[in-house]
């Protein structure tokens, strides 16, 4: 098979950040705003509001990243904000350090705290993170109030220094706005980076992300750390802006205010963050009288949070974009050269070797001393009655369960103790019995995540996003969905979603493809199409390990069959022979007595 250099046909412009006119426009516009802010005559009141909006927005960007992009909660953003602010406050006042140095120290302190919290908590479920961040928030507040010798206690830190270049409030505000514009640009483009795509995949479906080769834990920790960085940075900017900080500015209530800002504007995008921040700074100014009754104000915030979550989960900006997207037709996908599969061929004739594999759940031996080998090329089926341990075997092979004992070797790599994403890097690809796609993305974006597998030699590292997209489109073409590549997942039928899942695995150019009941829920036409697809995959030399109940499909497609019953292997060999094996017949149909 030849792997020729793909011919470039008419394609969408690949994203080239630096030269795209929209990006130049953004910076020109930002520069204009900065000049406007530094030249206009602003009274103190307006200046304060703008200063607050600009610095808060940076912290709320943090929530756009951790909550919006990655789906992890952070209820301590005010604490990270406070760490940044106190670093600038204490550093410039008590220790006479330069503003810039303090800003760096504060941001570093915030990211260290954030990474520590994330690393201890993010292996566990989301509830833990919520509670741990609340606890952290309380601790930071306790320290700010009680460690008087260090933090000045409840009185706070007055007369905080500013950089020499921006001594006046107005010039400092211009600096803050410029910083906001730059940080906003980075946050906006985070979603188009490898890390950003990984975050979105993790948010949509952690399990699918891990078998697509994403290190879920590290991605979450990164998101959380970025959020802490932005919190610390915003706090540092805030301290210089107001030249005074005190513990009550960084309390749990403020964390809730940040959260409400993010939710109201729309947590998925930095534009939403700015909208939410602006509104929640302005609205209270208009409703000042509410502040005369203590608590009333935050009580309304509480209700607002519930109402937004129930009625407007995407926030204002999310609502606007989803409304506008109705009028935008998906871009028709460009034509690309056909998909090439070039599975890795190092190792013996056996691409997968399973030796004495066991998986026990307490006393239940779901998989018990199972041996089988999958020969390179062709289709190998793993069958058995319900509850025989097929899916458990597949889950142990792909790393979702840890083997109780035994070995799994892929090519020349022993993958028995690797985490799921490392197995994917090693060349394993799989689909799920109950489809697991990234539901907020388009078909193409889903498949791009697959194409991005580390170790995928068919995507040139220098090609950037364009190369990934080309590979993904080819995979979608291969399963027959190329023309619909830019449609969101939710518009596809069940059968087509299955195909997209297969395309996601194919785009990664795996060495072995595991298919978990791909025919389940398909009608007879779709099943025939699936059979044909499997043949076309096998024809390119990619080995398939198939689990299915559909005997027509299994006997028609597979050359080799392994049969499990009650967690044990009861037959293994060439298809027709195995299906006539008396033990297999009795396992499926029962024995005459």
């Amino acid at each position: 098979m030849s792997v020729e250099a793909p011919v470039r046909t008419a394609r969408r412009n690949p994203l080239r950040f630096a030269i795209a006119p929209a990006h130049v426009g953004y910076f020109v516009l930002s520069a204009l705003v900065v000049v406007l802010v530094s030249r206009a005559t602003l009274d103190g009141y307006i200046l304060n509001i703008l200063m607050q909006a600009a610095t808060y927005s940076v912290a709320v960007f943090g929530l756009s990243v951790v909550l919006g992009l990655c789906g992890q909660i952070n209820l301590a953003q005010a604490a990270f904000f406070g760490i940044g602010a106190y670093a600038v406050g204490l550093g410039t006042v008590d220790y006479g350090l330069s503003y810039w140095l303090c800003l760096v120290i504060g941001t570093l302190a915030a990211v260290l705290a954030g990474a520590f919290l994330g690393m201890t908590t993010l292996r566990l479920g989301g509830h833990y993170l919520a509670m741990v961040t609340i606890s952290f928030q309380q601790i930071v507040t306790l320290v700010m109030i009680n460690a008087i010798g260090f933090t000045h206690g409840p009185d706070g830190v007055p007369r905080i220094g500013r950089p020499a270049l921006f001594q006046t409030s107005q010039s400092y505000l211009a600096f803050a706005v410029a910083a906001l514009a730059v940080i906003g640009y980075c946050v906006w483009h985070l979603k188009d980076t490898r890390l950003g795509r990984a975050m979105r995949a993790v948010r949509d479906n952690e399990l699918a992300a891990s078998v697509a080769g994403i290190n879920v834990y590290r991605t979450k920790v990164a998101a959380f750390a970025i959020s802490a960085v932005l919190g610390g940075l915003g706090g540092g900017l805030f301290a210089g802006g107001f030249t005074y900080v005190s513990p009550d500015q960084f309390s749990f209530a403020e964390s809730i205010v940040f959260l409400t800002m993010a939710l109201l504007g729309g947590v998925a995008s930095p534009i939403g963050a700015v909208i939410g921040t602006g509104l929640l700074i302005l609205i209270p100014e208009w409703l000042r009288f509410l502040k005369s009754v203590p608590g009333l104000y935050l009580a309304i915030y509480g209700i607002a949070v519930i109402l937004i979550i129930v009625f407007m989960p995407e926030g204002i900006w999310g609502f606007v974009t989803s409304f506008l997207s109705r009028f935008v037709k998906p871009v028709a996908a460009a034509s690309v050269p056909p998909l090439v599969l070039a599975p890795d061929r190092t190792g013996t004739d056996m691409v997968l070797d399973v030796k004495a594999l066991s998986k026990h759940f307490g006393g239940l031996k779901a998989v018990d001393q199972v041996d089988f080998s999958v020969r390179r090329g062709g289709i190998h089926a793993l069958i058995g009655p319900n509850g025989s341990g097929k899916t458990t075997t597949l889950n142990v092979i792909s790393g979702l369960y840890r083997a109780t004992s035994g070995n799994v070797v892929l090519g020349e790599t022993d993958i028995t103790n690797l985490s799921p994403h490392r197995r994917t890097w090693a060349g394993l690809g799989r689909t799920f019995q109950n489809i697991r796609l990234f539901r907020s993305m388009t078909a193409l974006e889903n498949v791009v995540i697959g194409a991005e597998r580390r170790g995928n030699s068919l995507v040139a590292a220098s090609g950037g996003y364009a190369a990934l997209e080309e590979r993904a489109l080819a995979a979608l073409d291969f399963v027959g969905l190329g023309p619909r590549a830019n449609e969101p997942i939710t518009r596809f039928s069940y059968g087509h979603q299955r195909l997209i899942e297969i395309a996601r695995a194919l785009a990664a150019n795996p060495t072995l493809l595991l298919l978990d009941e791909p025919a389940a829920g398909l009608n007879s036409t779709e099943k025939r199409a699936l059979h044909d697809l499997l043949e076309r995959i096998a024809a390119q030399g990619l080995t398939i390990l198939l689990i299915d109940h559909d005997m027509t499909l299994v006997s028609g497609a597979a050359q080799h069959i392994t049969v499990l019953n009650f967690g044990k292997r009861i037959a293994d060999g060439e298809s027709m022979g195995v299906l006539r094996h008396p033990d297999v017949v009795s396992a499926y149909l029962g024995t005459e007595t």
């Binding site: 509830h127 203590p294 935050l298």
Partner: protein, 291 residues
Amino acid sequence: MDIALQLLFTGIGIGAVYALVALGFVLIFRATNVVNFAQGEFSMVAAFLMVVCAVDLELPYWLSFLIALGGMALLGMIFNLGVYYPLRHRSFLPVIISTIGASIFLANATLALYGPQPQVLPGWFETPGIQVGPVYLDSQYLLIIAVTIVLVAFQYWFFEHTLIGKKLQATSQDKEMASLLGIPVARMIMITFIYSALIGGIAGILVAPVLFVSIQMGSSIALKAFAATIIGGFGDVAGAIIGGLALGIIETFGAAYISVPYKDGFAFLVLVLFLIFRPQGIFGERVAEKA
């Protein structure tokens, strides 16, 4: 040694309160797979209802108690309908955020209605306590411990030996299957919310005479109760109780021997240690989500 015994007694009393609130957490978590971040506010609201009835309106203590419990049942009902029910088909994150919103609302609405001054609620008994050897047994702490034992026993009987308890268990294990068997799942979840509002409320009423009745008491109790559930093993009833007691004791000794202002920090420290070294808790099963 005498001091240590005294501290142990106090620690168990405080720990019993954490255990009760933790029990409320666990119940709602098992029924809905959601952590209710307003669980502590149930205690706070109940304590304020007691202050209103028993102190301000000078009603008899037992009548105030009944009124407060009635109020809690109503609150549990409204909470379910307003905060959980509209989001029951969404993922856990929106529900968490929604319960946090509810917690902020309850605390600050109480603040707006009642003002920031901490209130004092007298204990149930006239007698302040009894001296047993070197240890002084405060009557309110004795009551807390006794009520906790009774409630835990009741809960065991209720879940294991009544039909409605079995139905609640079935609902918490598999909602779809339960509804296919004809169990009214929505009603079961309603009962769970009412029940956990009630035990949260009882915990608040019991602890109120020991602490001040303040707006912050809810979140402070809830944080510790949550830490208790993690220490014990998430979702495990026995774990919640042991974790609550352990935390109460650790905190009391920490405050006595290490630092009073940072008393509330010990729970967090213990929590982080557990998360690092034994995230599944003392009793717990593995918490990682299944495939």
